[in-house]
């Protein structure tokens, strides 16, 4: 419980763990952008494409991204199950959305199976719903791998340095970063304190475990109020301690740990570029590659 400040970080000595946090953040952003380059069925058909062509190019593009993700997971030495677990949180949402998309598909459709009022079950709808589900699952897994291989401290540090240009337009990037880092630092302390207060109240016969939800929530008030008051006192003390250690905000501040881009980040960059290019190749049909693959796929089916 006290390890919440470590987030879901999975400690391991892998190449991905050792990569620069800034590089990893940028790669994850590129990965997300990549996922949205793959068009929807409706958009593709309106652009004059064939359904078969869509299936082939979307499958190829997703395949390339999945291949990239698998490579990244393999290099990170994080168990695949840990990454898949991140899907659990969005599973219900994704399934409901997919079902709704399949049932109420209202776009371009040539293969209608069943139709009644606004309910249209079509092949296009089914494909559209499933690509959306795949897209969302991949969307969750990429950033999840980032938080599995990067500590929250590295993440805030990386973000602070990446967002540094924003401080030129008076956005207090440094202050936001230090607030985040202090919050992370205080989580275990506050949990410990909440435990202490709870035990003190229990010793005076407070009852936290019986009654319905509302009763139990109400029983927490005598815990939360002292916790709030003491956290204000802590904040005061901390401000004194920081002042007395020469803190003046970002002004003239240097850092002990310098982030350095290394060969691992270069490897990552090359990999993500290849992947991105592969995706674009199928989406925009460079060198007629989608057509070639589609024709080949048709000939196999025939």
């Amino acid at each position: 419980m006290r390890d919440v400040s470590m987030g879901q970080y999975y400690p391991a000595k892998s190449g991905v763990h050792k990569m620069d946090a800034r590089a990893k953040i940028i790669f994850v952003i590129a990965y997300i952008v990549m996922l949205f380059f793959i068009p929807t069925v409706d958009g593709y058909l309106r652009g004059g494409g064939r359904l078969g062509g869509y299936i082939v190019s979307a499958a190829a593009a997703f395949g390339i991204i999945i291949l990239f993700l698998i490579t990244a997971i393999a290099f990170s030495r994080v168990p695949v199950l840990k990454v898949l677990k991140s899907i659990k949180a969005v599973l219900a949402l994704v399934l409901i959305t997919a079902v709704i998309m399949i049932v109420f598909y209202g776009g371009e459709a040539n293969h209608v199976y069943w139709s009644y009022g606004i309910i249209n079950i079509t092949l296009e709808g089914i494909i559209s719903g499933s690509t959306m589900a795949i897209r969302l699952f991949l969307l969750v897994m990429g950033p999840s791998l980032l938080t599995l291989t990067t500590t929250p401290v590295e993440l805030t540090d990386g973000l602070e340095r990446l967002l540094f240009p924003l401080s030129l337009i008076k956005i207090p990037v440094h202050e936001i970063a230090i607030i985040m880092s202090i919050a992370l630092r205080l989580i275990p302390t506050l949990i410990e304190e909440a435990d202490k207060i709870k035990n003190a109240q229990k010793a005076r016969c407070a009852d936290f475990d019986s009654g319905n939800v509302f009763k139990r929530a109400k029983a927490m008030i005598p815990v939360l109020v002292p916790l709030l008051v003491s956290s204000f006192r802590r904040a005061d003390d901390l401000a004194y301690a920081m002042d007395s250690r020469c803190y003046r905000g970002a002004k003239g501040r240097t850092r002990m740990k310098v982030m350095k881009l290394g060969w691992r980040d270069l490897v990552g960059l090359v990999l993500i570029c290849i992947t991105f290019f592969g995706v674009l190749m199928f989406v925009y049909d460079y060198f007629g590659v989608a057509g070639i693959v589609t024709n080949w796929a048709y000939s196999v089916i025939a």
């Binding site: 230090i178 301690a241 250690r245 020469c246 850092r255």
Partner: protein, 275 residues
């Protein structure tokens, strides 16, 4: 001019409100560089306020506090003053900013704008001098109270101040933790020639200092060498003598020939000698 000087200083919390509390009244004192000083008094005697006045966390209402000739009321010299005087506070949990021990120790020197190599050197040195070097990559919340307080001391040391104020820094620790801190502080005073100002309500800790200031109700009631610890005025202000002094007094009444002692070690020696 002395290193740290209080010239007729007063401070009131929540001044100009009905809840105003006069914490320090017309206080004047001088601390020389390299001194080991103790400031003793009850809870609420104003001694923690004095700590915050020393490096400009609080600015005196009347009078003047100077560190190495610089006044704390001058905003421009505050940074320089804080580079010279560091404070270790009471609760170690409330003075740590980072989730990793070495990052926390680095916080001070980072604020000074030093080069990464120099910061690394200072952090390693500070952690080694409080004997916490092997924990440097760990998380503070896994440490014991004494260890946390040692990290807090390292955090101040890494700034390389000339004086260190310990504001009841041992009061939340067990006897083992207390001894660890006192040993480190003594070593710093002897080996690094660091000025130490120890604020405490434990008379046995005060007995370790070379010079003692006693405060009550915001006023300085006694000051001087160890001798003040046996002053009859202490009792009048509800303060006890250090335990060793009390035992020595009892033994003297019982007819034993015991000299001037302040610490248990000195007492033991005197008893052995007189037997």
């Amino acid at each position: 001019m002395s290193f740290i000087e209080f010239d007729n200083v007063s401070y009131t919390y929540a001044a100009q409100t009905p809840n105003a509390v006069k914490a320090v009244k017309n206080l004047s004192l001088k601390i020389e560089e390299g001194d080991f000083v103790a400031l003793v008094g009850h809870n609420g005697s104003g001694k923690s306020t004095v700590a915050k006045l020393i490096n400009g966390l609080l600015i005196p209402e009347h009078g003047k506090v100077t560190v190495d000739g610089m006044s704390t009321a001058d905003k421009k010299s505050l940074f320089e003053i804080r580079k010279n005087v560091g404070i270790v506070f009471q609760n170690p949990d409330n003075q740590m900013v980072a989730t990793i021990i070495e990052d926390d120790v680095a916080f001070g020197p980072e604020n000074l704008g030093l080069s990464p190599d120099e910061i690394r050197k200072r952090v390693d040195w500070a952690l080694k001098s409080v004997d916490m070097y092997e924990y440097r990559e760990g998380a503070p919340f896994r440490l014991s109270g004494g260890q946390k307080q040692r990290v807090a001391i390292a955090g101040v040391l890494a700034i390389k101040p000339r004086a260190m104020v310990l504001d009841e820094s041992t009061s939340m620790l067990d006897p083992v933790g207390k001894k660890e801190i006192m040993d480190i502080v003594h070593k710093l005073n002897k080996e690094e020639k660091m000025t130490v100002i120890m604020i405490t309500h434990f008379m046995d800790e005060a007995a370790l200092a070379d010079k003692i200031f006693v405060m009550d109700d915001g006023e300085l009631i006694l000051s001087g060498a160890k001798k003040v610890l046996t002053d009859p005025l202490l009792a009048a202000h509800g303060l006890d003598m250090p335990p060793a002094c009390r035992i020595a007094e009892g033994l003297r009444k019982g007819g034993m020939n015991i000299g001037e002692v302040y610490t248990p070690e000195e007492l033991a020696e005197e008893i052995c000698r007189s037997l």
